[in-house]
Symmetry: C2
Subunit: 395 residues, 2 copies
């Protein structure tokens, strides 16, 4: 598909390639027949929340991820909030600005000050090479994020943390099924927190899982999701009402059976994207370092306007007219949002570059390869007609 | 049942009255056949969270409660946290010490200082007569609680709030179906927050509903449950991930159809309790003021040791041996818990009296009347043998 396409894009009066509009993401739930009998049992038992299925899901997740403890919670955000609370962190936490705002919100709810560190323009992940410069006597932790499922440079970060007596919390919202140097993420840092909301690689409809090798932390998280009550009705800390329901655990448990297959499928879809459009000048894919794999919760490409001939916004607009949904994600980055701008201390050049030029393309686990090819075709023909399109103003 | 029973309690070697152990509470879910088709539709649609059913549930709940806006959230605690955050409260909040710790936790997560006010020993609710004494220039709100579903003296509290320019937030966790002076609670104060966890009078398995006549507050809550993002990816305030799932909304929606019947049933069950054991000296029922009705989320009685001949703990112990679960609730009160003791400023005599002597008896919506009668029988025979039992030490 390195040829120039001669059919016109829809924005210039051409016909759509795709018969139906394509969403940016869609949930992939286990087949109904795999859950319906057990759903019925749960419903009739009256044990509908935080019971046997949650425990089974925790055991299987811990087993799969190779970590001592997995604690189910109501959402990834609840998990992050509870980890920070349970660890009794204070002061400053180093965090990328290029992340989803839930990472930041968890800090704010805990009265922790975010200290934004730039990302690497290639991997979009926290630039571990410069973290040292941001550490002060008030720093208590580093919150790293596996952006879009691409594993952050964990060993370097852990070394810096160890040298400075800092905790490491990993926002692994995107990263179930991701491998860092061949090993599944989930057992790194002091805790990792996964998201199980509908569009994630593994979903429980809603929910989150915190994984840790620290059994005392796991104990505190288990009471923390139930208000912080250790059982004697005298809370250890102000927890949340963040239990996982049995039904959600059942969905997660069944989904987990297929996780390896799903991640392999997503990698295959991304490879099709890559093979088809990587020759277009100015289309840059997220770099996954050698030895690592990404779960590809999202596929974010950078559009270099000078080479591509159109900026990211114009491409997104032209794709939208083709019926292809895309997402400018994360845009704006945290430090350019009203809640967080006051915390910026240092230049965040790479973050702004990535955020201003990134575009996430449609990707979901049960997506047909043909759809990916059609999207690539659409991008090619938009590129071919870039000069004409450049003259069109975005309404 | 005013006669003295001559059969011995189990604790003295008698036979159990009840064939099976009785739980303190059990969830009453809508019949499976009422939800299964729509559940299947939701599941297959892929629209599994915060969509059509949530909207329908919100409309029906607002309609039923006679309030402009109902906003579904993931839990009552999330709802309370978001209301306080969305209202941008600061400083001190007046709150009963005799309440569930979630009321207090919502303040702590918002850096608000609880100022504990005593309760009335008859209704267990916030003593509205003394609130004025606790107001300082730092007070921003009163958080009132309908304890066990018994409506708090709202008009007096609202008058005090108006006179002092304070917000009123009502923790209505227990109170769906409760009537204050003939009118359902839900439209009082600046916001009310209901709980839909499994053992509540109306359940959605997990969840909460915030009701308010303030449409701007409702807007902020709707974005608050989705991180505070108004749609432009630039959060107005740090929200939560606290959406309600469609499946939960479906359960709540179906349950709501039966709410009046369920509340009537609970009142009937409490009346049976009352009729059968109110003549026992030292057994005091929660007072529901004339013109009000309680949803009776819980039935809490006070045991006056001097009159009953046994203290609350001994009665609970003897009932446990009969296979009858009870709950010392709320015990200890907030100001005697480690997280909250530092906030006590004034004596809380009635709170300590109620908390030290309260015992919640089994009550759930599908409970058979015969079970209530059997429990009353058990309490009577324990009372009859009070002197012998008093000599037994609790293991």
């Amino acid at each position: 598909m390195s040829l120039i396409w001669h059919d016109k894009p829809v924005i210039l009066g051409g016909s759509p390639i795709l018969e139906e509009p394509v969403s940016i993401a869609k949930p992939t739930l286990p087949e109904m027949k795999k859950i319906q009998d057990e759903f019925r049992q749960i419903y009739h038992s009256g044990m509908v929340t935080n019971s046997n299925y949650v425990q089974r899901f925790e055991e299987r997740a811990a087993d799969y991820l190779g970590v001592k403890e997995a604690v189910c919670v109501s959402s990834c955000t609840s998990g992050l909030m509870l980890v920070l609370k349970a660890l009794e962190l204070t002061g400053e936490v180093i965090i990328p600005s290029f992340t989803f705002f839930a990472s930041g919100h968890a800090l704010l709810w805990n009265n922790l000050k975010p200290v934004f560190v730039d990302c690497l323009p290639s991997t979009y992940n926290l630039n571990h090479n410069i973290i040292n410069e941001y550490i002060t006597p008030n720093t208590s932790a580093i919150m790293a994020v596996h952006i879009f499922g691409n594993p952050v440079e964990i060993e370097s970060i852990q070394r810096i943390a160890d040298d400075n007596n800092l905790k490491v919390i990993i926002d692994s919202a995107h990263a179930i099924g991701t491998r860092y140097r061949g090993r599944l993420v989930g057992s790194f840092g002091d805790a990792e927190v996964f998201c199980l909301s509908p569009t994630k690689v593994l979903t429980a409809v809603e929910g989150g899982i915190v994984t840790t090798n620290n059994q005392e932390l796991a104990r505190r998280l288990r009471i923390g999701r139930d208000y912080g009550n250790p059982g004697n009705y005298d809370c250890e800390f102000p927890g949340l009402s963040a239990r996982m329901e049995e039904f959600n655990a059942l969905i997660g448990l069944k989904g987990l059976e297929d996780i390896e297959e799903i991640v392999a499928k997503r990698i295959r879809l991304v490879n099709i994207y890559q093979k088809n459009i990587c020759q277009i000048p100015g289309v840059l894919f997220q770099q996954i370092d050698a030895g690592n794999t990404s779960s590809y919760k999202d596929l974010g490409i950078i559009i270099n306007k000078d080479e591509f001939g159109l900026d990211r916004d114009k491409l997104a607009y032209a794709l939208d007219i083709e019926g292809i949904a895309t997402k400018k994600y994360f845009y704006p980055p945290l430090h350019q949002q009203r809640l967080y701008s006051r915390y910026q201390q240092y230049p965040l050049t790479a973050t702004e570059y990535v955020s201003n030029n990134i575009l996430c393309l449609p990707l979901y686990s049960h997506m047909e390869e043909k759809i990916v090819q059609d999207i690539c075709h659409a991008i090619w023909r938009i590129y071919s007609y870039r000069e004409e399109i450049a003259g069109i103003s975005i309404q």
